[in-house]
């Protein structure tokens, strides 16, 4: 770890130095990392994967169309106030300012949204953030790529429906929703209620007080309800604690379906045997067999570089970092096709994010077949209509247990639009007319 910190520090210094020497040919990407604090394991691994991917592009391709990528870390410790401090410090970084911001932190994303809108710098929130920001008419500078929490929730119900033998079999079933008592945790309650109405099951909500160290009272109530399935919307230490408590009440672990922030190795290893059989949503798999990961190993780690300990390459969090690398850099590439092969401003990168197409051919070219779902963003749809798959923990690794599942956009899109319009009304935002921008 000490070596990693040292390497990162040296990389940071070198990157700053190179900005001065060769400013016009470099694109700056800020890294508001959290290597310390309660979520350090996730922050270090995801941002580590992100930086490694950019380092690989620099080493293998000389950057993006000849424009080198540079980055700088700013430690937030997962605290929104420090995140905003980092934002202010890095947003005007030379030569063209920050290309975008990935906070990897929902509260920080909420806190920064109005600033980024004013500064014309996009926020990329891959797999987190507010669901209604998928409506690009109201949120021009926010991109909740992959899928939002709302859509992810609809795929959980589809997955449970498939396990029960069909969506019609959900009628009369009981689902317990055990969630982190925070904005993140509560976000999916309206969607679950709408799904319960649509499919005829009942849902009971059980909030868990932050940080979730003690959950006995909650799980005893779950046992009283005797649900058929549990949807676990946990974060951090709440996850292993929930799994252990569920085992103590004798609830079958393979009937607990978690959010993808419950689905890393860090969430299940502390729970030991209690985690065997646990299922979570995912927007990418773990593992090192993908071409893109092999390239990172070859062009970064074999040369003695890299932002993380080699042993975590291929972990869920690390691979999520690679996904961050792919989507952010492909957005820059897309914007370069429009504005020219040069360093771009945040406003120009925003255009690229809004015209991002990840199709099968591109996935093949990236060495990411099966690693990521196809997606396509538009002015109206900043989410990209992504898909979700499910994974199950076998005690040593996560295994994929479903194909890509398309969310119930028919149900969620009107909810997204209604919520976005409500936001626009409250904040005095005039929604864009996308037909005029085509």
């Amino acid at each position: 770890m000490k070596n990693n910190l040292l390497i990162s520090a040296i990389a940071g210094i070198l990157s700053v130095g190179s900005v001065v020497s060769n400013a016009a040919e470099e694109q700056f990407v800020p890294i508001p990392i959290y290597r310390t604090g309660p979520y350090a394991a996730g922050g270090a691994a995801v941002f580590g994967g992100f930086m490694d991917y950019m380092a690989m592009l620099n080493a293998r391709d000389g950057g993006i169309n000849g424009v080198k990528l540079t980055w700088e870390e700013c430690e937030t410790a997962y605290k929104p106030d420090r995140g905003i401090e980092c934002y202010e410090r890095m947003k005007d970084h030379p030569p063209t300012g920050a290309a975008m911001f990935n906070f990897l932190n929902t509260p920080m994303t909420y806190a920064a949204m109005e600033r980024t809108d004013k500064d014309k710098i996009p926020i990329v929130s891959i797999g987190y953030g507010r669901a209604d920001s998928a409506d690009g008419r109201v949120f021009p500078y926010v991109f909740p790529l992959a899928t939002t929490y709302w859509n992810q929730t609809t795929t959980k119900i589809k997955f449970i429906g498939a396990k029960e033998g069909g969506m019609d079999k959900l009628k009369g079933k009981k689902i317990a929703h055990v969630y982190h008592d925070s904005g993140f945790g509560k976000e999916t309650i309206p969607v679950l209620e709408a799904l319960a109405k649509k499919h005829g099951f009942t849902v009971q909500h059980y909030p868990v007080a932050h940080p979730g160290l003690e959950q006995k009272a909650v799980w005893l109530q779950v046992r009283q309800q005797a649900p058929d399935w549990v949807i676990l919307r946990g974060w951090g230490v709440m996850n292993p604690t929930a799994l252990k408590e569920s085992k103590r009440i004798g609830f079958p672990t393979d009937h607990i379906v978690g959010v993808w922030w419950s689905g890393s190795e860090e969430d299940v290893i502390p729970a030991g045997d209690a985690a065997k059989g646990f299922i979570t949503a995912a927007f990418h798999p773990g593992g090192k067999e993908f071409g893109v990961i092999k390239d990172v190993e070859k062009f970064v780690y074999e040369k003695g570089n890299g932002a993380v300990d080699k042993k975590i390459i291929g972990s869920i969090y690390y691979n999520r970092g690679i996904i961050h690398g792919i989507l952010n850099t492909e957005a820059i590439r897309s914007a370069q096709e429009h504005f020219g092969k040069k360093a771009l401003t945040g406003e120009q990168v925003r255009w690229g994010l809004e015209h991002l197409t990840i199709d099968e051919a591109m996935l093949k070219k990236l060495g990411a077949e099966g690693f990521l779902s196809t997606m396509k963003t538009t002015c109206e749809d900043h989410e990209g209509s992504g898909k979700v798959r499910f994974q199950q923990w076998d005690g040593t690794k996560w295994n994929s247990v479903s194909d890509w599942i398309t969310p119930d956009y028919e149900l969620t899109r009107p909810m997204v639009e209604a919520s976005a319009m409500q936001y626009a009304k409250e904040k005095g935002v005039t929604p864009r007319d996308c037909s005029k921008e085509k």
Binding site: M1, P38, P211
Partner: protein, 293 residues
Amino acid sequence: MSFFFEVLISGLLAGVMYSLVALGFVLIYKASGVLNFAQGSMVLFAALTFVSLLEKGWNFWAVLVVTLLAMLVLAIVIERVVLRPLVNQPQITLFMATIGVSFFLEGFAQALWGTEVHGLELGIPDKPFEFMGMMISQFDIVAAGLSGVLVASLALFFSKTRIGRALRAVADDHQAALTVGIPLQTIWVIVWSVAGLVALVAGLLWGSRLGVQFSLTLITLKALPVLILGGFTSVPGAIVGGLIIGGSEKLAEVYVGPYVGGAIEDWFPYMFAMLFLLVRPEGLFGEKRIERV
């Protein structure tokens, strides 16, 4: 009715685990009159050191001894570097110093052993057994038993030994204790070492429940209402306070929570302790403060 008792028993068992953390605070408070803000960080440091050495393939008992030695060294360093220069300073100064120790330890532990989350298997069975229609966790029973033994031993140690009496004298007045020949520095090292031992036991038991990770520092949140209720200077008070807080918070969560939106476990103990303070400011077993005018 059996559900009520099941909730109550699970709360009482959790309460003993809270007592274990509260105990570390009590020890330091008794010796210096200061709330040790760094107790949670000591739990993290002890558990991380233990599990990291264990993962290197070391023998369990060897790791235990080495970790205890590490906590002893830590106690000596804290005494030499932080406490000794602050002898006879106001208590708020010592309190601020423990905040500094806390931040240092959090960063040092993670820099030394990394930020990864570790699983910890102590070999204590974690399956529930049925007792009169109630499901009781074996792990909780064993953990509560261990905590109870530790608390009882320390209560005896501090009430029946010379060190215990010296400790009370030091807590009362540093300068006066020095004047009558009590070695203040030695007492502080002993107390911080014992607090280190308590941190290690708490770290192992909580670590095997939650995983050894940064969040271990947050278990102090559970200890503070216990201290307020039981009294900052009483070892038995820590255990009685823990039982009351554990039992009441679980019952409140189940029977009151649904009417107020749930998730009241985090704030209910504080509210309960605050109401208690209004009636008995020194806590259940705390020493009543009498000052001559």
